[in-house]
Symmetry: C2
Subunit: 256 residues, 2 copies
Amino acid sequence: MARIVAVVNQKGGVGKTTTTVNLAACLGELGQRVLVVDSDPQSNATTGLGIDKRKLRATLYEVLLDQAAASETRLTTASNGVDILPATVELTGADLELVDAPRREYRLRDALRTVRDEYDLVLIDCPPSLGLLTLNALVAADGVLIPIQCEFYALEGYSQLLKTVLRVRASFNHSLAIDGVLLTMYDGRTANSAQVASEVRRYFAHLVFDTVIARNVRLAEAPSHGQAISTYDSNSKGALNYRQLAEEVVRRAGEE
Amino acid sequence: MARIVAVVNQKGGVGKTTTTVNLAACLGELGQRVLVVDSDPQSNATTGLGIDKRKLRATLYEVLLDQAAASETRLTTASNGVDILPATVELTGADLELVDAPRREYRLRDALRTVRDEYDLVLIDCPPSLGLLTLNALVAADGVLIPIQCEFYALEGYSQLLKTVLRVRASFNHSLAIDGVLLTMYDGRTANSAQVASEVRRYFAHLVFDTVIARNVRLAEAPSHGQAISTYDSNSKGALNYRQLAEEVVRRAGEE
Ligand SMILES: Nc1ncnc2c1ncn2[C@@H]1O[C@H](COP(=O)(O)OP(=O)(O)OP(=O)(O)O)[C@@H](O)[C@H]1O
Ligand SMILES: Nc1ncnc2c1ncn2[C@@H]1O[C@H](COP(=O)(O)OP(=O)(O)OP(=O)(O)O)[C@@H](O)[C@H]1O
Ligand SMILES: [Mg+2]
Ligand SMILES: [Mg+2]
């Protein structure tokens, strides 16, 4: 049975989508079957995996509103072993339309129940907010992966995030765990990155992945080609880092 | 009477806070009086302007809930001519508490009416979402300033943002204008930045500021010292760019 992991941090631009897309692709290279769920109306993960949004008949929006099944909405991608449950900007409407709906927090969890057994891992890319879409992801998930950018402002949001995780654990999903904290955009040339990294390690201790994702411009270029880094530039530092992360994720899963 | 400008983009990490803090400081250097309103629970602008959050008695949260007046909550900062209406993580609660409140969209607008005449400009730093806090900012504002990071993923969100601006203009605030679009984190070493910049100019035409903010690590370092770039490193590229922007904003205001 697949583990469902929400990639979440309400601080914006910390590498949630970049981590979701590239970790999925690198796990696919290791022979794992991964479903990416794009739960951000900006739908960057859908574009990052090369999907043409203009051709989509159904997306996560229809799935959450019970107008389509997850099994009919997911698509294969150009990355081996990686499927996606895509999104478009229409997903913004789900917040409003589900305000009074029954079981509105459990919609994603219920929808994924029908497909999760076909995968080793489900990765949910969350928007930079703690609204209904992120709440759905946290209720559906077994664990969270928290990317933290190695820059000062990124240090200020995680107490809010942890409070939200604890609240979801208390009211909706008792087994929600923190699978790991990932340091991203580490820039070895500045003291800033090292200071932030050591502060994060002090706070989160063993939860912090050994793998650190360095700042690497190839990671920012790959999405414009609709490719994961392992396809766009297999020899880049970004590809190396995300392959290391994929191996660490597999190793950690085996140790549980 | 002060112009109220909301610095807004639901895409995360595009430079909203960095622009709010540094544009305010550089306008202060030109002799303008600026009020920064921090309407993001992550309260990065509050930290970026050197405020110790542990010592705050009242913040924007109390102001929105009518428990404190804006005039008693704002603080002076170390940047000449710049005051701040600070925030803490508690602001997250405003969303929930105002759900059924009367005039919930007008709370910020009403609160700022009492202080705006003491300033030349009010800059509202928004969170990376289009929820009630951003809605309050759009209803209170005369115009919006939209930072767009020169990276591919940042191209995918502005249709959602423009729809929201139009909706607010139709239902709450008929005179809301787009004051400008600011290109940020431009990295001359990669083709990516130039492609994104030309795409943004094609879409927004004359609305795009002539000033482009280059990627400059000193901008990411300044917040850890609680200083604006003009204080932290006055000779940096980042300080130069934001001074240029301040001059352009003043020039544009004069031409209206
Ligand atoms: N390690 C890295 N090195 C360089 N650029 C990166 C790296 N990781 C991500 N980026 C770029 O930084 C920007 C922000 O990353 P990304 O969009 O993945 O963050 P996010 O947390 O998903 O943002 P949002 O909060 O808007 O969802 C993107 O343009 C991305 O291409
Ligand atoms: N021109 C720049 N060059 C280098 N770093 C920058 C630049 N502008 C902003 N940064 C850094 O990039 C990160 C994101 O910027 P910032 O926090 O201002 O964005 P934001 O849009 O306010 O994010 P959020 O969506 O979380 O509110 C911060 O660590 C900031 O210090
Ligand atoms: Mg994202
Ligand atoms: Mg910000």
